[in-house]
Amino acid sequence: MELPLVISDHCDWEELTLSIRDTGAGEIWVTHGREEALVRWCELNQIRARPLHLIGYEDEAE
């Protein structure tokens, strides 16, 4: 069975990368923000990752 794991984006870089490590996730989908940077970090740490480029995601804020 697959369960979604929801993680708040309100944390610093170190916490974000630590969370990725702690989950042991095999693949990371980045929903928003500066996706390239996090994807790059994942690459460097041999974790598969890709940006989702959710349409309208950023426009929902506020």
């Binding site: 500066r34 390239e36 940077a37 790059r40 970090w41 460097l44 950023e58 426009d59 506020e62």
Partner: protein
């Protein structure tokens, strides 16, 4: 090092000028020599650590993190010191006991070849806020919202002396300014400036407001054009020649053409300008080619010949004439300038007028585009440092404005990085829009949010950080753009470049079809 790092951090986070001065005063009280003086030098830009270059810092940061990750982070953060200090792996050793003096000593003795290892080792041993401080220190140009003048103001308050005294002394002093601090603390007499040709603090004007104009008595004033160059002071004394900016920075090395012609005993106050090929005064953009350079090539000197349009004389031979009334100073200035090569020195000639209306007419119709407006100076004014009330006035031309249409928006840097805050706007040529400029200020935070929303809602295309925004005859956002002048430009598709464009109003009400046309701008060029 810790105290300096804390000072920088506090200064960055402080808006108020008075509060910044208080922070500096506390630093001067709590720190000793040479650290406090070195902190001042870092702020005033008088600290030179030539072997540590931004390129080296970028290189090291790429090595210790990852080149690509560093590039992305730097782009996002926008400040080198901030990016590097945060991306640098946190120190294990934590040997952070080094004083600012020791760090400066270490870095100043580094050579091109030893600098990488020394800097890397240093950054390894410091915490993030100290890393930030070291990088700011090493690269100069702190950009922490504290000018050299503010630092001098703090020194003046520290010793309860006038800032003019500090400015006059400044050029003869070198970091870490121990003799200066000794005097300011009452432990030693005032340092004697042994430097020849010192700077003298300049006299500044107030913008003329409605009340000033109502009470303006033409018989009491002299008027002259206000040229769009930079204010300078040319000083010659006993064979020493120095050209100063209005804040007392020595810019002689960037203007060898002027210095060569400066065969004077005295101190001239005037405007530094550049001539174009035809011999008339070139726009500020031409002068800009010569500014902020440590040295200058022969080619630049030839292509952008500089000259001084003189308007005052502070010292004539060995005589300080600042206490003489303006007409007498002018008379002496005329005599001095007459002895100088005309290509390098000429006079700002008083305008003839009898009434305020005549003056108003002159202001509205200046003979050359490089004129920013008028200066009005009381005939009985003596030369006083600072900005004395009621003596000198500037009366600028109204800024020019056009209505343009928002075409592209780009995400900002730093605290605005979440918003589309940099706007490219265009005017009509036929039935297409051509970009004529870029502006990123002139609006409130509320307005920024609203434009940002408009950009997101009406994006036509995305190119990396740039969005192309819907802009056609019936739909789009019209921006009223104020600017200080127009130049011809081969770099822009429209053939026109704006000087100092800023958004003066958002015209949500105006249909884009009614925005201005390129022909209007072209007519303004003539």
């Amino acid at each position: 090092m810790r105290a300096f790092a804390e000072l920088l951090e506090d200064l960055v986070l402080t808006q108020s000028r008075n509060r910044k001065i208080e922070l500096l005063l506390r630093h001067f009280r709590e720190c000793s020599d040479p650290d406090r003086g070195l902190a001042v030098a870092a702020i005033t830009g008088d600290l030179d650590l030539p072997s540590v270059k931004p390129a080296l810092i970028r290189e090291l940061a790429s090595e210790v993190s990852d080149a690509e990750l560093f590039r992305l982070s730097y782009d996002f953060v926008g400040d080198l010191a901030e990016t590097v200090s945060l991306i640098w792996p946190s120190s294990q050793a934590g040997d952070a006991r080094q004083s600012l003096g020791e760090v400066v000593d270490l870095l100043s003795r580094a050579s091109r070849s030893t600098a990488p290892a020394i800097l890397r080792d240093l950054l390894d041993r410091l915490d993030a806020s100290q890393r930030y401080a070291v990088i700011k220190l090493a690269t100069g140009g702190l950009r922490i919202g504290v000018s050299a003048r503010l630092a001098k103001q703090a020194l003046a308050e520290f010793g309860q002396v006038d800032i003019g005294e500090i400015e006059e002394l400044w050029h003869g002093l070198t970091p870490p300014y121990s003799a200066l601090f000794a005097w300011l603390e009452g432990r030693a007499p005032k340092p004697v400036s042994l430097a020849l040709a010192p700077f003298r603090p300049v006299m500044l004007s107030h913008a003329a407001d409605e009340r000033d104009l109502e009470t303006f008595n033409p018989a009491e004033f002299m008027a002259e054009w206000k040229w769009d160059g930079i204010r300078i002071q040319a000083v010659g004394e006993g064979g020493t020649r120095r050209l100063y900016s209005r804040t007392g920075d020595d810019i002689s090395r960037a203007f060898p053409d002027i210095v060569e012609a400066m065969n004077i005993e005295g101190a001239i106050d005037g405007e530094l300008l550049v001539r174009d090929a035809g011999g008339t005064v070139a726009p500020f953009s031409a002068l800009q080619q010569r500014l902020n350079r440590k040295t200058v090539s022969a080619k630049l000197v030839r292509e952008y010949p500089a000259f001084i349009r003189a308007y005052d004389l502070l010292r004539d031979g060995n005589e300080d004439i600042r206490a003489l009334p303006l007409p007498q100073r002018k008379q002496r200035l005329d005599a001095l300038v007459a002895t100088l090569p005309h290509a390098r020195f000429d006079l700002s000639v008083p305008l003839s007028f009898a009434t305020l209306d005549e003056l108003r007419a002159l202001r509205e119709n200046p003979p050359e585009p490089v004129i920013e407006g008028l200066m009005m100076k009381r005939l009985d004014s003596v030369y006083v440092a600072g900005r004395p009330k009621g003596l000198w006035f500037k009366w600028k031309r109204d800024p020019q404005v056009v209505d343009a249409v928002l075409m592209y928006a780009q995400r900002g840097h730093g605290k605005r990085s979440g918003f589309y805050s940099d706007y490219t706007f265009g005017v009509w040529r036929g039935d297409e829009l051509v970009p004529v400029g870029k502006a990123y200020f002139g609006f409130t935070d509320e307005e920024l949010k609203r434009i940002d929303k408009f950009v997101r809602d009406n994006t036509v295309e995305r190119f990396g950080p740039v969005r192309s925004v819907r802009a056609d005859a019936d739909f789009g956002l019209v921006l009223e753009i104020a600017f200080d002048g127009l130049n011809r430009s081969t770099r822009h598709k429209s053939g026109i470049a704006m000087r100092f464009p800023r958004i003066s109003r958002l015209r949500w009400d105006k249909p884009p079809a009614e925005a201005d046309r390129l022909e209007t701008l072209e007519a303004m060029l003539a």
